[in-house]
Symmetry: C2
């Protein structure tokens, strides 16, 4: 009914219009309405497949029932597509890269489990079930799945606040699995509801700052193992950790841990340096952690250094992942907190995995489907939460090794998972004497990759507000907590967005010499004024409650002042409002336009509107503004508006 109403109206004004392009502007079809828009986007989100199928059904013959199931299945399990073309030569590559990956995964996983305040086997469990599930559901060929440093830090910092992992390890474990369950649920939901845009809410700059802060916090956490401190703080901020370290200097610390840790850290860093210089030796940095573990374990075993204060892993339960289904708790006092932690972990884990996956996919030149990735991650973490794993995701350092080792598909993840599983069956007893300091040095060696000075400098150079979000996240993580750091970054990013959207910016335009093109006077200093006409472009995407009044005042003020000042010049007789940048307008904006029109008319100045966008002209028509100012005051381009204002043609004669 509404559409009819204003169609009539536009037909009615039709007869008065002399300018053909004004007709185009006024007679454009209605943009999709509010409800149409909402339902359309929901439909598109929920049934993306069906829409595609329907649109192509006219050209193609109808698929049979069976074929359709295969299509759906292979969209959920991409392995069904690439598995058909899988060859023995590819498997050879995947086998090698999977074994290399496992040699890096085993020590890293044990270390990250320690970072998350968990027993070592839980790190290894996380490198068995989740990679297996990802390998049949994921779309990335290179992504190596398992526990990662930042998520381990998130788990330990958020859950240690609720339950003390030392005093009550059973409740702590239960809460970890519950958080993992929520993480998986959120990730799967994001994927199913196609909410991929959620992970974009952390801006690039915020991630750079957050990762750097997290790396320093993780590094500081390693002081516990590196110095052999028994009692350590559960807080993660720099002040508390340094305080705990300094206090422990006075009580009990064992320099031998430090010596072992540092010497192997130097060994790992040297192998990495060699690997970087000589690309053929890529396997050297990949297996150096395992070599360190074996060597240090042997040394401790032979010298019985554990009796001299060297902390060792000791108990280490091997065997298959036990079920943790009965450990999930949905009625405890921390349910809300667990869901919140799960949400944060879901976002951070996805951000890291998708960023890593995308950057390697773009090297190989294929596309990563964000929504499928999220579904795969969600399923693997849901399955993980029921099989004693904590949150897994794609790891940057391991994915890089996987890529360098020449992996061809997710089969390398399967090889790694099987290798880790075998180690869990056979090797756990051999790791009894592995010093904790070695795990710390393996984690420390992976941290420099998380700190990106160059990118931070680049951000500073390009965009100061982005840099503010970056250092906000950095210092937030460093001095408060990971959550506060993320909150600061999100607030700065969105605050900047709002400020940009509502800035009451206007630009004066002038004619580029010898053309019909009108440009910003400040941007193009050579442009020429049109005598007697002030051309103003609104420099804001929405003309709304937050900026309508200031813009109105600026425009009327600028006209009035110019009229007063430049008496010598030709007085302003027309204002052309270039609305080409304005994408949306609300009722406050329309009221401001009406008031502006009234004020200008009372000063005998014409108002012309150039190039209103679809939604804007639609709303102006509905609100009756077009009727008020007269349809002859609306133009498609600034040039036409200027011609009309200068000529004796339409403007000023009829309505305006």
């Amino acid at each position: 009914m509404r559409a009819d109403l204003h169609h009539e109206q536009s037909h009615e004004v039709d007869s008065h219009i002399k300018n053909p392009s004004t007709k185009w502007v006024l007679n454009s079809p209605d943009p999709p309405g509010f409800c149409q828009h909402i339902f359309g986007s929901i439909k598109k989100t929920v049934f993306p497949q069906r829409n595609n199928a329907r649109s192509s059904s006219s050209s193609q013959k109808k698929e049979s029932h069976c074929e359709r199931i295969i299509v759906v299945l292979s969209s959920v399990f991409p392995v069904l597509i690439w598995g058909r073309k899988y060859t023995a030569s590819k498997f050879k590559n995947d086998l090698i890269s999977g074994l290399t990956l496992a040699s890096l995964s085993i020590p890293q996983s044990i270390g990250y489990a320690a970072l998350a305040n968990l027993a070592p086997q839980y790190g290894l469990y996380g490198s068995v079930i989740p990679p297996l599930i990802y390998s049949v559901m994921g779309t990335s060929q290179e992504l190596a799945i398992g526990p990662v440093a930042v998520v381990s830090l998130l788990i330990s910092s958020m859950i240690s606040k609720l339950v003390d992992p030392v005093a009550d390890p059973v409740s702590y474990m239960k809460l970890v699995f519950t958080v993992t369950f929520f993480t998986g649920t959120f990730q799967a939901l994001f994927g199913l509801l196609r909410l991929g845009f959620l992970i974009d809410f952390l801006s690039h700059a915020a991630i750079v700052g957050f990762m750097a802060g997290a790396a320093i916090v993780i590094g500081l956490q390693q002081m516990k193992s590196l110095l052999g401190i028994s009692h350590f703080t559960t807080k993660t901020d720099v002040v508390s950790v340094l305080d705990a370290v300094i206090k422990s200097f006075h009580t009990s610390w064992y320099p031998l841990n430090f010596v072992i840790g540092c010497s192997f850290l130097i060994f790992i860093l040297i192998t990495r340096f060699i690997g970087k210089r000589n690309k053929k030796l890529f396997w050297l940095p990949a297996i150096s952690p395992v070599i360190s573990v074996i060597l240090s374990t042997l040394i401790v075993y032979l010298t019985r250094a554990d009796e001299h204060g060297v902390k060792i892993i000791k108990h280490f339960k091997g065997g298959l992942n036990p079920s943790s289904l009965n450990q999930l708790e949905f009625n405890g006092p921390h349910l809300g907190e667990a869901a919140k932690a799960g949400f944060i972990c879901a976002i951070i884990a996805l951000t890291e995995a998708v960023a890593v996956g995308r950057s390697f996919a773009s090297i190989k030149g294929y596309n990563l489907d964000g929504n499928k990735e999220m579904l795969a991650m969600g399923c693997m973490n849901l399955a993980g939460s029921m099989s004693s794993c904590y949150v897994s995701t794609g790891s940057f350092s391991r994915t890089a090794v996987n890529f360098s080792a020449g992996c061809q598909s997710t089969v390398s993840n399967i090889v790694m998972a099987i290798t880790v599983f075998i180690s869990l069956q056979l090797l756990t007893k051999l790791l009894y004497y592995t010093p904790l300091a070695i795990l710390a040095s393996i984690i420390l060696s992976a941290l420099p990759g998380l700190i990106d000075y160059n990118e931070a400098y680049h951000i500073w150079k390009v965009d100061k507000m982005d840099f503010l979000a970056c250092i906000g996240a950095f210092f937030g993580v460093l001095f408060a907590s990971v959550e506060i750091g993320l909150l600061v970054a999100v607030c700065v990013s969105f605050g900047r967005l709002i400020l940009n959207a509502i800035r009451p910016g206007i630009e004066e335009l002038g004619r580029l010499p010898g053309t019909d093109i009108f440009c910003d006077k400040a941007q193009y200093p050579g442009v020429l004024d049109v005598p007697g006409i002030s051309i103003i472009r609104l420099n804001s995407g929405s003309f709304c409650f937050a900026n309508a009044n200031p813009i109105k005042e600026k425009i009327t003020k600028c006209v009035t002042e110019e009229n007063v000042k430049e008496v010598a010049k030709k007085p302003i007789t027309g204002i052309i409002l270039d609305m080409s940048s304005v994408i949306s307008i609300d009722s406050s904006g329309i009221i401001a336009l009406e008031e502006m029109y009234k004020k200008l008319v009372s000063r005998n100045i014409h108002l012309a509107i150039a190039n209103p966008r679809w939604k804007v002209i639609h709303k102006l028509k509905i609100a009756g503004f077009v009727e008020k100012v007269g349809s002859d005051c609306i133009f498609l381009t600034v040039n036409e508006a200027v011609d009309a204002c200068l000529g004796t043609k339409s403007i000023g004669v009829s309505n305006c």
Copy 2:
């Protein structure tokens, strides 16, 4: 240094460029930097006078020290300007309108004081000192100052939560004065720091909904007096109030109150109806409240109805405003809450006063200086908080009466203040027998003006999201509390703003037949495709972290799909990105552009960028993007980009 650096760069690329307009785009001067921008706007905010003076000093001779003081003084006290031209004939008008105003003010003020849970004299105090101060500082000629309904409701609802006004009236009074002090401080600060935009943060739609909700809540509060209920709830939401009313029906209520209240309410409404039909009788609705008060007081006095349950005012302390300086409390437990309440009152009071003032100023055709108004309101409330007044502001109903009575300046406020002051000295004893139900009926009669059905319908018609903010505020106020209502409205308004700013919108453009103009295909269905070229306009004011990835994916997807589908047509060989709507870009946006460029190049598709705005091209230059894609891929207009893509000229040959 930075400027030098990229100036060099732009000079360097200069020699390659064949297209003259590309030179214009690339050689534009740097936009003001971040620091420059911040300092510039602070300077402008803090020293607006000085800037003006400096800019005009070249043309005018320098003012003497004395003259400058006069200029500053008269900018703070506009009375010094208009006072010089004030005439006796104007005073005659002001005297009449001031007396009319007083006859409406006295009963209204007493009623609003009751609404704010205060003794009647505090309402009258608020109609003495604040109007006097406003009359020398304000810039509006019509605004009538005093207590208003909505602010009284705010005070009672926010402070009753902290201190019970019945159980501890002394603490309640202290808190009211403290809140008034904060309100004045915030308002004066807003004025001094030129933060006028803050009151724009309540969108027009939100105010419509808020006022309607507040009117209903205020009306329900009057049930207490109208039914003669002794014990009433201090909550303001509909459910609690109706619950209290229903409960009181079972205990104690006095129908006589209801009879008196309703009969005089009908009398007032009839006089208003007459006043509307016959403009000459405008004084009838204005003095009908006073007539009602006098008549009902006489009736109660003569019939001794107070002994039959009719609630009367009783105690009423007359005399001069006592000082309340020693009642301000800055170390109590509720200081934070008082500051918060002061902030909300400051915003709401200013919103109402500025809206009313502006609408009447626009009728008379003069400008209201928002910042001066805020300073004046702040000073009058600061002074009020020290002389036993609670928050005063410009009232809509009284301003309308003032205007109809033909006021010429703020002198009518002075006349009103003196009249109220005399009444305080002489008449308070006469009001002993005034029934409370009369005050309720006076307040009720003023409420319909706050509910604007037509505007709500207009908002619904024009903008559904605006309407959501409107009913959000309405139901928030009605069913939760005034603060929640405001919060809902602000959240909806800003949420919509963010959604609009980050919507990953793109539009395909086509050529308007017979012109060089390129328009949205959806908006102008008649436009023609350019074969082999896809022209895409970004439909968002900022290309940033929140929408860069989805936009990138949409564009690459749409190109790839079209290439696959439309094999019969000419395949796409170039994409032109019209960036004319994009006002800001951040580092995530630049990265997305780079990735898009890489992906397109890998598919042998050219990327051209048309009409980048000032800040965007500046950032693209700094980030090295221009160097990467080659300066020949950047154009001033879509038309030039199309020509270049179609022709054999520059594009595709050199860099792209």
